[in-house]
């Protein structure tokens, strides 16, 4: 491949790769709202994530970003179209999937180690091994001294570390993340992004990372999906050719990064403005 002046290029969304870890194929999703109206959340949505690829999804508020993740878990069923994970149609929650939530989804009545061991124990692993592995994962996210603490005794960043350990201990081939760091302050967030990239590079999972923060998306991703204002569909896909390993604290000052951000933001801005105008007009 030639060296490009611009590190980003538009690619077509439907790269129908045979080895795709996640393939969302021309999906439309409609809801019936409680007052009986039909609402289209996603329209003709196509997305592929190759094995080991890090994909970010950005878009205006309420465009159905998080919905895409629920399609992959199987918690939502597409109205038309098909979702495949590791080549198989999604029927129930796959054991290959890990999910990091925006909200705090730790169990507050369990200590850190009990939280991290939850996944293996649910999956029927013997207690001793589950706790051994949990201890190992807690050490890997740097919380070895906090095994016996309860979530309320930890800071927001530490709770996120526990959440990462809780998810990664299941060694998911597919990692879904729904604005996981949006509630953290900017310094903690940068640290957590580095942490995530380190863990990801060891595990080689395929990631779908939903965020409203474009810079976060570019800094983390191999591929950025820009969605339109609702009903969500893919507006454009950008390949991010920044070298890895990346250091979050520095990458923001990289000239290539700034250039990419400007190109994608031009694209995204129209949708954000459209979404905002629509919200103000309809009052919803």
């Amino acid at each position: 491949m030639n060296v490009q002046t611009v590190a980003t290029r538009k690619v077509s969304p439907d790269v129908s790769a045979k080895d795709a870890a996640i393939a969302i194929d021309d999906v439309t999703l409609r809801f019936t709202t409680p007052d009986g109206n039909m609402m289209t959340a996603l329209r003709d949505f196509t997305m592929t994530v190759a094995q080991g690829e890090f994909a970010c999804v950005v878009g205006p508020t309420g465009c159905g970003k998080s919905t895409t993740l629920n399609l992959v878990t199987g918690l939502l069923k597409p109205t038309t179209g098909q979702v495949r994970v590791m080549g198989n149609p999604v029927t129930s929650i796959s054991r290959d999937i890990g999910f990091v939530f925006q909200a705090d989804a730790l169990f507050p009545w369990r200590s850190v180690i009990d939280n991290v061991a939850a996944g293996p124990l649910y999956r029927g692993e013997p207690k001793k091994e589950a706790y051994e592995r949990a201890r190992d994962w807690i050490a890997r996210v740097g919380l070895a001294r906090f095994e016996k603490h309860y979530p309320h005794q930890l800071s927001g960043g530490m709770r996120k570390r526990v959440a990462l350990a809780q998810t990664f201990i299941n060694q998911p081939k597919i990692l879904l993340m729904d604005e996981p760091f949006s509630a953290l302050d900017i310094q903690t967030r940068t640290l957590m992004q580095d942490e995530l990239l380190t863990l990801w590079s060891e595990l080689k999972s395929s990631v779908v990372f939903v965020t409203h923060d474009l810079e976060e998306a570019i800094a983390l991703a191999d591929k950025v999906y820009v969605l339109t204002a609702g009903p969500g569909t893919v507006k454009s896909v950008y390949q991010i050719d920044l070298p890895r390993p990346r250091v979050m604290a520095d990458i923001r000052y990289d000239t290539k990064f700034v250039e990419i951000a400007r190109v994608i933001w031009d694209d995204l801005r129209q949708e954000v403005q459209l979404g905002q105008r629509r919200t103000l007009e309809t009052g919803q």
């Binding site: 939530f101 169990f107 009545w109 999956r123 299941n170």
Partner: protein, 292 residues
């Protein structure tokens, strides 16, 4: 750029200032606590003193409203000589036994029913109307039914206590299950939990603070159920003691029994709080997690 730092010489004096400020804050807190205790005792003494004075000067009729010394005498007599229906401790024991059995059955039933209906939409929609109706019936009246059906023995009192407790615990358990955090349930699901594991490890613990809060209230109800049951017809117990005293126009006896019941309720309330604090030790501070 030069980093500024306080000179070392000022540090000891500053530490001393902080230490003395902490000390005086502690002293102030202790003084305030002592003041509250003193005021509480003072209020009690003034209240009892005025009551006693009122009956001595015939402003208050001791025949109807008793007097602190009369109540004290009555309790002393019961302790030393026993009541008309046997020793005092036996009356307390009988009432407590009925209360506890009723409380236990009602609470366990309420928790199980609350969890089952909370987890099953269809059952909840079908049963909710009947539970509302049953809940609006003044349940104390059922005491008469139970005495007719189950006799003067323990069963009728236990049945009344069960009915009093069940609905309170049920309503709270149901609400607690419904309020369980959706993200937490989804998290457990994706981590690999089966529906049963979700109920056991997510739903029940998160409903626990609701359930325990209801146990506080409902223990009082169990006691009311047992006493009212005895009141309506019994051979033993504190309720019978009250009803006998009432029949003999013995106001001292009614008040004395009331105070003994209050002490019983307070002691058990204290024990429940201890258990609650132990079970919910994961919470930031007692009660702060309630209702969220």
């Amino acid at each position: 750029m030069a980093a500024l730092s306080p000179s070392d010489s000022s540090r000891p004096s500053r530490d001393a200032a902080i230490a003395s400020a902490e000390m005086s804050a502690k002293v102030r807190a202790r003084r305030r606590y002592a003041l509250i205790i003193t005021l509480r005792l003072l209020l009690l003494v003034v209240f009892l003193g005025l009551w006693e004075l009122g009956t001595d000067t015939k402003v208050i009729d001791a025949f109807f409203f008793s007097s602190p010394s009369g109540i004290g005498d009555q309790i002393w007599t019961w302790i030393t000589e026993g009541t008309s229906q046997g020793p005092l401790w036996q009356q307390i024991y009988v009432t407590l036994e009925e209360t506890f059995i009723g409380f236990f059955i009602g609470a366990v039933g309420g928790i199980i029913a609350g969890i089952i209906l909370g987890r099953n939409r269809l059952l909840a929609d079908v049963f909710s109307i009947y539970i509302k109706i049953a809940n609006s019936v003044p349940r104390v009246v059922l005491g008469s039914v139970f005495i007719i059906a189950l006799g003067l023995g323990m069963a009728s009192k236990v049945a009344l206590a069960v009915v009093m407790v069940f609905f309170v615990v049920f309503a709270n358990a149901f609400q607690g299950v419904r309020e369980a955090d959706r993200a937490m349930i989804a998290n457990a699901q994706i981590l690999g939990a089966s529906p049963f594991q979700i109920t056991r490890t997510v739903i029940i613990p998160s409903a626990m603070s609701w359930i325990l809060a209801s146990l506080h209230v409902s223990f009082g109800f169990a006691l009311v159920g047992a006493v009212v049951g005895e009141f309506l017809g019994a051979k033993q117990g504190m309720g019978l003691l009250i009803s006998t005293a009432q029949g003999a126009f013995n106001a001292n006896g009614v008040f004395a029994a009331m105070i003994i019941l209050a002490v019983m309720a307070l002691v058990i309330e204290f024990i429940i709080t201890q258990i609650e604090n132990r079970v919910l030790k994961w919470r930031p501070a007692p009660f702060s997690g309630q209702g969220t």
